[in-house]
Structures are given as structure tokens and as C-alpha cells.
């Protein structure tokens, strides 16, 4: 873009899984090629570890660009004044095509970063096994459960999941709750406006318990990370996986081709406006960064339509671009996802359990959810605990 920048640029990225890592490294290489005088230092840290490290990183010897997540999850750092206000970029037109996602980046009336990708959640399944058993993609929970029974009878499990790091259980809860009580109710719960012991929440858990009790989920999921649990799907021991689109790349890596995997939207339960999870990942400039101009240039570059198209392509991140002017790659999952989010999420788009709920609530909550998935009979006890936490945290 016409003018280049020079000097230093230090980036800390959490894109540590193999595919994202390659994308990030490519991104830096390309940006560096455009700005030959710029000295870019890229550090990639473990994605899980980054969640605990970002706070330190922002306060001590802050880099110029960091990765994080949209929505509530930005809260603590915005409140603490650790993120740079980048509203100017949205105003001065250096971020064309981002108007639609501006909302997810807004807190306290200002914008605090730029998104670079988002991705749909939904049920990824083994198309070949469905065909073998003569199953169709279900649209309602009744169908889903009927399918599941057939699968179970064939000696397989319905769903792979790995809850060792807890958050995958949050995905199931998001969907069960949004399908049972609707998007708005889910958000009320996230904002602490509803008691966890509320009848409606209990209903969500009951619906979920039905699946658990029929043995739909793989055993010992509390011992696996989501990656480790993928093995059950690739081995054919489980037929489906409620997960984000980022899982497609490792599935392909594990040797499944597109004729073996497919995707459908989470089935309906009650007649409520459906919401979808579509977490947005972002770039931010720490308030204490020393090369903010260079950082702004990088943010603008990352958000630009072409770059968005490129990095979200099926061969790269395999996710959805945030820029309205970008093209969605001709990938069956991206196309289906894009279509689902554009046309079939009447209720609204949620970020994800751990991004919509405040940090401490999310932490207590996900631990409860994990326990529930193993011991559904502990439901009341768990809910009481969550309610206690809610009362303390939101006060």
C-alpha cells in the first residue's frame, strides 16, 4: 500500500497449532517483504499458555502486537487500560470492510483491536459412516437422538469430545442452552441476570443429560485434549464432533478426505430464535507498545480484504474472513458455515462460553460442565455451586 514503514515491530502470537503457526509465519514474511526496512520479531507462544501470560506480557516490556479474543474476553485489559484504543483506525477509513464486525470489538464505546478470523461451530461428522448406517443429517433433537441410537447400536459412540481443558464442554452447553432457551436467554445468563438454578437452565441440563445418559459421548473424555479426542473420530470409533471449524485441518491431516467428513448445524430443540457460536480471534496493540505506528500498519494489513481471503483459505487457517470484501474460499465447510451464519442464525452470534461469561464465572462454570458430562446425577449440586459463584462474581 503505497507507503512503507520502517523500524521495529515485535509481535507475540498464540497461533501455535501447526496450521495457524504456518499462517502467522507467512503473514509476517509477507508483511516484511512489503516493508523491507522493517525489522519484525515474531514470537509464537503456546495457545493455552498465552491465556495466562498475556497479562504479564501487556504490563512488562510489552510487544507491539498481540493476539487475543473479541467481546467480553477483552474486558479486563480494556478496563485496566492495557489495550490501545484503535477507534481512530475505524474512523479514518484505514479498515475498509470491517463495519459489520465492529460490534464485537467495541467496549465502552470504543474499539480495541481488529479481528482477523472467525469460524463457525457445528457438528462435524463421518459422512461415510452415516452412509454406511443409512443416516441423514438431522435437523431436530429427536432425529439426532434416533441417529445416535443407531450409531450406538453399531458399536460406536456418537460424539468425540476432549474436556481435559474444559472449554469444549462450554461449546456443548452454549448450544444446548441456545437451542433450549434461545440466544437472548443465553446472553442474560452470561451477564449474570439469571440464576443458574433457574428452571430454564435446569431444562437445558436435562436435555443434555438425555444424550449423556444414553452414552452418546466417548468414555474418559475428561482425560483428553480436543486434539487427542480427534483420534476417536478419525479411527471411526466416534462419528461426530461438536467443534469449531479449526478442527477440519487436523482431520484432513489425519487422513480423512472430504468424502468422509461433513458438517451440519446443531439441531433444534425448542422453537426459539437459534443462536450460533462463532468466536472471533483478534489482534491488539498493547497500550505500552513502543512502535504503535508500525503496529497500526500491521493491523490494517491483516484486516485488508486480500490478506483476509488468503489467510482464511481452506489450505491455510480454513476459517472465515472478517472483512466483508473478502472471498470465502471454495471449501465445503467454509461455504456451509458462511451460509449458516449469514442465513440461519436468527437469534444472533455468540462468541463462546469462555468469552461471553466473565473470566471467573467461565472458569467455575466450565469445571461444573465437565463434571456434569461425567456425572450428570450431580446436576443440582453443580448448579448450586455455579449459582453461589454467580452471586459472588457479579454482585
Amino acid at each position: 500500500d503505497g507507503h512503507t514503514v520502517s523500524g521495529e515491530l515485535r509481535i507475540v502470537s498464540d497461533m501455535s497449532n501447526p496450521a495457524p503457526r504456518a499462517v502467522m509465519e507467512g503473514l509476517v514474511a509477507d508483511f516484511g517483504a512489503l516493508n523491507p526496512d522493517l525489522n519484525i520479531e515474531l514470537t509464537i507462544v503456546d495457545r493455552e499458555a498465552w491465556k495466562t501470560q498475556i497479562r504479564n506480557s501487556l504490563t512488562a516490556d510489552a510487544p507491539d502486537v498481540v493476539n487475543w479474543y473479541a467481546a467480553n474476553r477483552m474486558g479486563p485489559y480494556v478496563e485496566a487500560g492495557l489495550f490501545e484504543d484503535v477507534s481512530d483506525m475505524y474512523e479514518d477509513g484505514s479498515l475498509p470492510g470491517l463495519d459489520a464486525v465492529k460490534g464485537a470489538m467495541t467496549l465502552n464505546g470504543a474499539q480495541w483491536g481488529v479481528p482477523y478470523t472467525f469460524y463457525q461451530w457445528g457438528i462435524y461428522y463421518r459422512e461415510d459412516i452415516f452412509n454406511e448406517l443409512g443416516l441423514e443429517e438431522p435437523t431436530t433433537m429427536e432425529q439426532e437422538m434416533a441417529n445416535c441410537q443407531v450409531i450406538l447400536d453399531s458399536g460406536r459412540k456418537c460424539y468425540a469430545i476432549g474436556t481435559k481443558f474444559l472449554w469444549t464442554a462450554g461449546g456443548w452447553f452454549d448450544y444446548m442452552n441456545m437451542r433450549t432457551n434461545g440466544f437472548d436467554f443465553h446472553m442474560e445468563l452470561a451477564r449474570g441476570e439469571v440464576e443458574w438454578t433457574d428452571e430454564r437452565v435446569v431444562q437445558t441440563f436435562e436435555n443434555w443429560a438425555a444424550l449423556i445418559e444414553m452414552g452418546a459421548f466417548i468414555d474418559d473424555h475428561q482425560s483428553y485434549s480436543w486434539q487427542e479426542a480427534l483420534k476417536f473420530m478419525t479411527d471411526g470409533d466416534a462419528t461426530a464432533y461438536l467443534i469449531g471449524n479449526f478442527a477440519v485441518a487436523p482431520m484432513r491431516d489425519a487422513g480423512l478426505d472430504d468424502s468422509q467428513i461433513d458438517f451440519y448445524q446443531f439441531p433444534t430443540i425448542a422453537d426459539v430464535p437459534q443462536g450460533e457460536d462463532a468466536p472471533t480471534d483478534t489482534f491488539h496493540i498493547p497500550a505500552q507498545a513502543s512502535n504503535k505506528d508500525n503496529a497500526r500498519a500491521f493491523l490494517a494489513y491483516v484486516a485488508s480484504a486480500d490478506v483476509q481471503t488468503e489467510i482464511n483459505a481452506g489450505a491455510a487457517l480454513g476459517q472465515l474472513p472478517v472483512n466483508a470484501n473478502s472471498g470465502v474460499d471454495a471449501d465445503e465447510f467454509l461455504e456451509q458455515g458462511f451460509d449458516m451464519l449469514s442465513n440461519n442464525a436468527q437469534g444472533g452470534v455468540a462468541q463462546f462460553f469462555d468469552r461471553d461469561f466473565p473470566a471467573e464465572m467461565a472458569s467455575v462454570g466450565m469445571e461444573g460442565l465437565q463434571e456434569f458430562m461425567v456425572f450428570p446425577e450431580n446436576r443440582d449440586d453443580i448448579l448450586e455451586r455455579l449459582e453461589d459463584a454467580r452471586q459472588r462474581i457479579y454482585q
Binding site: V12, S16, N17, P18, R21, T43, I44, V45, D46, R47, E48, A49, T52, Q53, N56, S57, T59, A60, D61, S225, Q227, E228, L230, K231, T234, D235, A254, G255
Partner: protein, 282 residues
């Protein structure tokens, strides 16, 4: 000697013992052996469910090559070296001085200061975590190897002082008196009489501290982040999330991370064990 020396026992037990020994060893090291075998297996063995059988092919070079050339492990290893070596030197210097002061001189408060070092060494270090992290931040040393080194030196000084002081105590005191009668100044007594005699203690302590610091994980994640300054113990966790479920690579990585202290142990075994038993405590 107890139990009864083998040569004085029955023939059957002698043979039985010789047979039993390797068997027990293998059982004892089973988890490690498994990991070693993992680390030379090909990827395919894991996808095919051949977890515990013989490796279908030996992929030592591929696996370890990946660790060394396609990951941050070499950087982490190097960090560990740059953290461990200065710490060992610092600890030795500080504690041979404190140990000398506490071991040789009688003065009011001697025992009190000595006990302070010991007590400090035994506190659950979690209680130090937040203040030390703040201190490090405020000195602009957060996420630097220096910050980690300084803390390690300070904390290990407690243990090292205990060790050195007890060692110096056991030296024959007339040596120091002889030097005093000869008109040698206290500094020179330290440098020329005591320090040379402490060589075994220095060696033992170096090896011991090397292992402790190399294996430290807690402080590494409290005071550092990222491959710029984190040591290999922390590095291995991020290496593992990079290769999640790729057991052959994780195993190779773990073995690489564990190797230096193990090598140290085998080379300096005598000193290491002397250190453990002399200094008595971690």
C-alpha cells in the same frame, strides 16, 4: 554389612538375586523405557494403534531431527543453559561466603541467621510467588533470564548456605587457627585455606543445584514466558501443545529435555550423591 552379603548366602539365592536384579530394574524403569521406545517409533504406529508393540520402523533421526530442527526446543535448551549456569556460579559464590561466615566465626546471632536461611529454604515457595513476580516486574526483569537467575540464586542460597556451613564446620578448625597464628588475614584464610578444601562440596553442590534449577518448572512459568527466556521444562509443555497427540515427538522432546541433568548425574555421580546426603535436603 546388612543385609547378609551375597557371598555368604545360599547358592540358590545368589542366582535368584542375579536374575531378579535386572527384572526389578526393568519394572522400575518401565515408564521411562516406554517413553524411550515411543521416541523412536514412527507416526504410523500411533495411528495404527501399535502403541506398545515393537516399533514398525526406527525413526530416531526423523523424530529427534524434528525436535532439534523444526521446533523451538534448541532455543529452550539454550535458555536453560543460560539460566542454570549463572545460577550455579552465583549460588556457589554467595553461599561459600555465607557458609564461611557462619561456619567459622562465633558471633551473636550466628545461629539465628543460619536458621533464617534454613527456614526460608523450607517455606512453600508459593508464598513468594506474587511478591517476587512484582519485584521482578518492577525491576524490569520480567520475562528475562536475568530475572529468573537472580531469584534462583537468592532462593537457593538458603539451601546452599546450610550445606556449605555444615561442610565448613566439619573441617578441622585448627587449620584456621594455624593460619591465624601465621598471620594470614581472614580474607586470605577464606581464599587460600578454606576454599581449596571445599572443592568436594563445591562440586557436589554445583551438580545438585544444576539439577534443581534445570528441572525447575514453577518459577519458569511465573517469571518468564515464551521462547525468549523460558527454560526447557516450560518449553516442553508448549512443544507438547504444538505436537499434541504426537506421542513419538512428545517423547523425543521429553527425552531431550531430561537428558542434560541425567548426563550430569552419570558423569558426576559421586558428587551428586555426596551433595544429597551432605546437604541433606532439597
Amino acid at each position: 554389612m546388612f543385609p547378609t552379603p551375597l557371598e555368604k548366602t545360599s547358592r540358590q539365592w545368589q542366582i535368584g538375586y542375579q536374575v531378579l536384579l535386572p527384572i526389578v530394574l526393568i519394572i522400575w524403569l518401565l515408564p521411562l523405557i516406554a517413553v524411550a521406545v515411543f521416541s523412536i517409533k514412527p507416526d504410523a504406529d500411533f495411528t495404527n494403534g501399535n502403541y506398545w508393540g515393537m516399533p514398525s520402523s526406527f525413526e530416531m533421526f526423523t523424530n529427534y531431527g524434528k525436535v532439534f530442527f523444526e521446533s523451538d526446543m534448541p532455543r529452550y535448551l539454550l535458555n536453560s543453559v543460560f539460566i542454570t549456569v549463572p545460577t550455579v556460579i552465583g549460588c556457589i559464590v554467595l553461599s561459600s561466603m555465607t557458609g564461611f561466615a557462619l561456619g567459622v566465626y562465633k558471633f551473636r546471632g550466628n545461629l539465628l541467621i543460619f536458621f533464617m536461611f534454613i527456614a526460608g529454604n523450607f517455606v512453600p515457595f508459593q508464598i513468594l510467588m506474587v511478591p517476587v513476580r512484582d519485584l521482578t516486574l518492577s525491576m524490569n526483569l520480567y520475562d528475562t533470564k536475568t530475572g529468573l537467575v537472580l531469584f534462583h540464586i537468592a532462593f537457593q542460597t538458603g539451601f546452599c548456605t546450610l550445606f556449605m556451613r555444615n561442610f565448613i564446620r566439619a573441617l578441622p578448625f585448627p587449620l584456621i587457627e594455624a593460619a591465624r597464628v601465621e598471620g594470614v588475614s581472614e580474607w586470605r584464610i577464606f581464599l587460600f585455606v578454606v576454599l581449596p578444601l571445599m572443592k568436594p562440596a563445591l562440586a557436589a553442590l554445583s551438580v545438585l543445584i544444576f539439577t534443581f534449577i534445570w528441572n525447575d518448572y514453577f518459577w519458569a512459568i511465573v517469571l518468564t514466558q515464551g521462547p525468549d527466556s523460558q527454560p526447557v521444562t516450560a518449553g516442553i509443555t508448549s512443544f507438547n501443545s504444538q505436537y499434541r497427540a504426537a506421542y513419538h515427538l512428545m517423547s523425543a522432546g521429553s527425552i531431550v529435555a531430561a537428558l542434560p541433568p541425567v548426563a550430569m548425574f552419570f558423569l558426576m555421580q559421586k558428587h551428586f550423591i555426596a551433595g544429597l546426603t551432605l546437604g541433606a535436603v532439597k
